[in-house]
Symmetry: D3
Subunit: 285 residues, 6 copies
């Protein structure tokens, strides 16, 4: 459980996204609800139809609050909690029109986020006993990364870099331009902040040694066999953080963890997450 990370998503950053999502879904006017909804208040329950980690409750709330100031919400769980099929997750009461217009968008956020949190959590649990962390990648849905990274954190894992400006990641092409890992790292160090780390993608033991010599912070062990990965971890010997990457499947997690790497990165926890089944039950009051 990660009961504490309830507060990690900044409301301020969420609101603009929610407004755009509502504009996308409303279009012009909701020609059904705007015509048919009367002024009486309505109540709805958010019910889990799945087992897993709930995530996105504050976003769910913001959707309705953007549509009407007269919405009251009561949560029975918080982000990171485990919910079971049949659990009542929240109760929302307010303006009928806001509830009917907002329900689909609210669910769209929370179902995707809970799906990612749940899958991430499944991966992370396997690794907990090894003290290894799973992490995601930049393979996220365009313009939806904030929510996907937050879901990864809610699932108990750590996010990889948020964007291209918060960690240096030196790849093949970059090395080719500079001439060598050493030269690339030296050039980068002249410009980037001392607050930023440098990671280098390595596919061979030779590259690993070069990265180590260049004193980088993180060495990515990319597409390595388990043996080569193990050997790399030994060479590195805690002088840099080791990140296993490439061909990471659920079934291979323990095998990779046993090589002694610090972190395992995979796009699967985001890209392969199923939509989490949640439904809304209306109760006319």
């Amino acid at each position: 459980m990660n009961k504490e990370n309830w507060f990690l998503l900044n409301k301020f950053m969420v609101k603009e996204h929610v407004k755009n999502a509502l504009r996308e879904d409303i279009g012009f006017i909701d020609i059904t609800t705007d015509v048919l909804a009367d002024k009486k208040d309505l109540k709805l329950y958010l019910i889990s139809k799945d087992n897993g980690i709930i995530c996105g409750l504050e976003v769910f709330e913001i959707v309705f609050k953007e549509l009407s100031e007269h919405v009251k919400i009561k949560f029975f769980f918080k982000d990171g909690d485990e919910v079971k099929n049949g659990d009542k997750v929240a109760e929302i009461e307010g303006d009928a029109s806001a509830l009917l217009i907002g329900e689909r968008t609210a669910l769209n956020y929370i179902q995707r986020m809970s799906g990612i949190a749940t899958l991430t959590n499944k991966y992370q649990k396997v690794l907990d006993k090894y003290g290894v962390k799973i992490t995601d990648t930049r393979k996220t849905t365009p313009c939806f990364r904030l929510f996907e990274k937050y879901a990864v954190m809610t699932g108990g894992a750590i996010p990889h870099r948020f964007n291209l400006s918060d960690c240096v990641m030196i790849k093949d092409n970059h090395i080719a331009y500079a001439g060598s890992i050493k030269k690339a790292v030296e050039k980068v160090r002249k410009y980037i902040s001392h607050t930023h780390k440098i990671e280098v993608e390595c596919e061979t033991l030779e590259q690993v040694q070069n990265a180590l010599d260049a004193n980088v912070d993180i060495i990515m062990l990319d597409n390595m066999s388990t043996n080569v990965m193990k050997k790399s971890v030994e060479i590195i010997n805690k002088q840099a953080i080791t990140e296993a990457s490439g061909n990471v499947t659920y079934d291979r997690l323990e095998e990779i963890a046993q090589t002694g790497v610090d972190v395992i990165s995979t796009s699967a926890i985001v890209a392969c997450a199923k939509t989490f089944d949640l439904s809304i039950k209306f109760v006319n009051s």
Copy 2:
């Protein structure tokens, strides 16, 4: 194959989304590439690592064009074409910095879109012989619907309504407010355009009959058993479009099609789509 739908996505509407996605991914500056990329041109190939329907090629192109005016692109396939593992899909040449900064975002669009097009196509193929169309729902990723609906169309299916303003959809709550299906439809007709259709969600034969009596355009057969669905189709007798919905799985598609419905809607073609595997190979020129 749907070679003709190449032109369905309006470039004008795509550019703003791409700009926001690039801002999301760049953050401040790309501290690796902006420092290390030199001015020489670079070439990259987009290679398929999967079998299925390619989708999003124009979006892929727009990503690089937003980053640099000096990008030339050559496509060997077009949206809706079938590609196979190993196929070279496109060749892009231009400003090294633009190519290195844009590759991840460009892939993020096209991998998700091709995944949806491929799954949709798999569903649709089962139905082709019945003359039945698969359609999606409003269960889409917030702020990414344009791309997901387009992928559904590229896969050979038809989209359901784009948003709340382009088709009336009368559900339980709406009926409750109005008093009956008949009253709800009458009230809506007073306000909405003659260019818009009215759809009613029905779960029982009685509701189906009421919807038919109210002369609606589309009757959703929601969560019905195959038998009740079949009975509904007979009652409706082509006087309204019939749309099967609820508990739609791939395995049940033919059984549903055999009831004689016109359209089958499911969120699965979007929500359960796998990321399509595509990779970028750089060729330093």
Copy 3:
């Protein structure tokens, strides 16, 4: 009267437009009011100086609410109500600065909207006894369509399509590209939603017959003489919705209605609407 459509305009969609309108009108700072207004509250009355249909009251309110949280408003009418010269329509009390800065923008919305509602209502009243509906077109003021379409609805008419994505409208050029009405309709049906209608512009009886054969939803009888229009309605015989268009003047409305068409479309109800005379009277409190 259309007392029920009070609730048709979604506040959520209005706010961004109002903010932009206020920015347009304020520029930098209101160098008169910001300097001279003191902190005491002010009260104002919105007075009708005209006879007709009032429209836009919620927008009027939103203008002031965006400028200050301390504004209280009391409406004596609601959208769609008939008001007479001299009627007190609303009473607003609050922050002097907000009231003085907002009054012009608030009036600019409501005067244009009430003008359209009033003219539309005049047209619609002529047609009520024939059960025919007047409708507007896409000839609207750029970036102001939401308010103009809503005013048309408030006037008792129905809007035509909101935009290019909520109804197919096949015109000469489209037919020329496809080869025939039949081919154009077939091609379109392969891609568009079953939730969308297809309308075809017809100028001759032969085109009407072709459209009918293609099973379209709406046939526009475009620029037809009254006789040809009548003949078209007979041929169509309720198998499609008929929409009269072109050369629609107020004086010709009944003549057109008597041909038996379902809907008459004209840009006049928006383009020829006069600004509705409303004034604001300040009462220093």
Copy 4:
């Protein structure tokens, strides 16, 4: 004619508005044209169906250029020119899809702008022999003011202030707050730029005298009888600019001009302008 003011509208400021107008009109995708238009180029003529002043040609062009880079345009007139029914105003050639999608939005701008330019010009012509200028007000369509003010200038008149920050306008309420015209003017002068003018609304000769004593730049003669207006002009005796306002009708223009005022302001030139009739004729090439 005002052939020189062709260049007054800054393209840079127009583009964002045009993009929003196109988004408003397209919605999601143009389900007719995006499906049916083929790739061949198309040509269209912009034809005048009315007599008057053409205005908005650059905006017209920008609409198509935003939709496609492959559009060529040839103008036979320029903003401020007089056009007659039947005149070919422009010829546009390019991407069929861009032309078909953009035509309505392009016309919406130019028809409204030319209507205002034409009516303004009719008012101004009456006044030219008196050396008096007609001017508009802040009664404009929300978020469309730039285009309406420019049309007024194109019609040969001068605009009133663009917004609340470019001229002080002291009204009843402001005077009440300050205690007197004198005190209001003094307070304002402490804060505002020496580059800004001060105008005071006066309804009586006493107010006129007070405004004159306060050394203001412009005195509005508001809702005055012709006699009082004349008397005011004599008192002011060119020590301030005089602006007649209120109850300004076309028929009363000369009577007002003969009082010797410098400027006559009226919302009529914008609010009462008819849509100028222009049509587009497609020529398949």
Copy 5:
């Protein structure tokens, strides 16, 4: 002191800027505070570490209010007040997370604004006894002008034009295009509002005479020696406002004022302002 100008900055116009500044500073999430701040309220004091004019208190407040609705603020000074090193300027209480995330951005506004207000005030004080006003220029930080102009006003000076649309400023190039000052002024008068002033940059006595003959509102005495400036003022003889510009230093202010000019413009009051030292002291409650 300018205690009255507390109210000059329109909250409505400030909020969007503050939101963008917070987005700039937060990036994705505040990985320190979002993780570590607990839910208890926090209190902070804003303490002056400098002597001068405080400016931007409302902006300071808006920063925190955008982050949380649960923030209470108490000001002990208002904009334009003189504060001394050690003064407690404000007390803010609320949501710990909002206070910790917002403090830097809030200070960034107020430190720059108070710095400008303080320097402006220092310049203005020298001139007060001459009845001369100091004014700024368009040399401001891009996208931050509203705050810098407001600070100038708070310091007791007047702003120069806000932007290119609120006063005509004819320079060398403009004169060259028109042929002469006279021709340039005449051409401009045909288009611009009677509510706008015309200023001409003059460097010689001949230009001054030409500008005077053209009846302009403001004559800029640009880069003149004190003698030529004095001579110019005599020639102009109050028939136009005189504005000294160029080579304005603090030490030369009195010398310039003694020439009898009305206004002295300089970019120094904005460009050379020091950051005003203010600090935040947290008090855990």
Copy 6:
């Protein structure tokens, strides 16, 4: 000199800022230039009137390119180069109207940026022989940080964190919430990326020891006397990066550098930078 960092500022991220700056400066229309500029091309030279590091040349170019497509530019220096009073920095030729409208905004960027680069360079030069780097802070002008951080990099220094999401910075309050430095660091590590660093503000040797024990990446030596700072550096003994902060003045730089710290952070290089004197000389062609 830093000739290589010419390419560090991503054009894509700059354009939106420039558009907003131009909108800010234009307002509505440029009532001088839009009226008076004719269509002939104009040429201008950018001349340095100061000695120092030039910075912002690409931004300078983008300003004009946003205003007109017909602008050609030739640079004689590049960002990071040293320029001297009198040097011709660039030559721009194009549309007269674009050049006259854009010059002020273009200068506003480049003068501020070059001022910061120049001051930063002066600070950095003192430290070069010690291998110590100067760095900035988050004390930047709201919404202008990208340009200020880039100028710091151009001046030869390194930027501190870009925003709150790219490095953890634990301060007093955060420690208080967690109970100790150790607990704060442990809690943060559970959530943040392995790609992010952790910095702790320390004012005493005890705090330094605690931070060291917690294995943090950077230890800020905040407001320490030179002696305590030196002692801290010895204790830390290269096990963490050391950053001196507080009371950093130009005169004290060497003294601080001699303590052996790795980095010295100060807001002075941004906050105290003078506007760099650059002027534009027009050459009518």
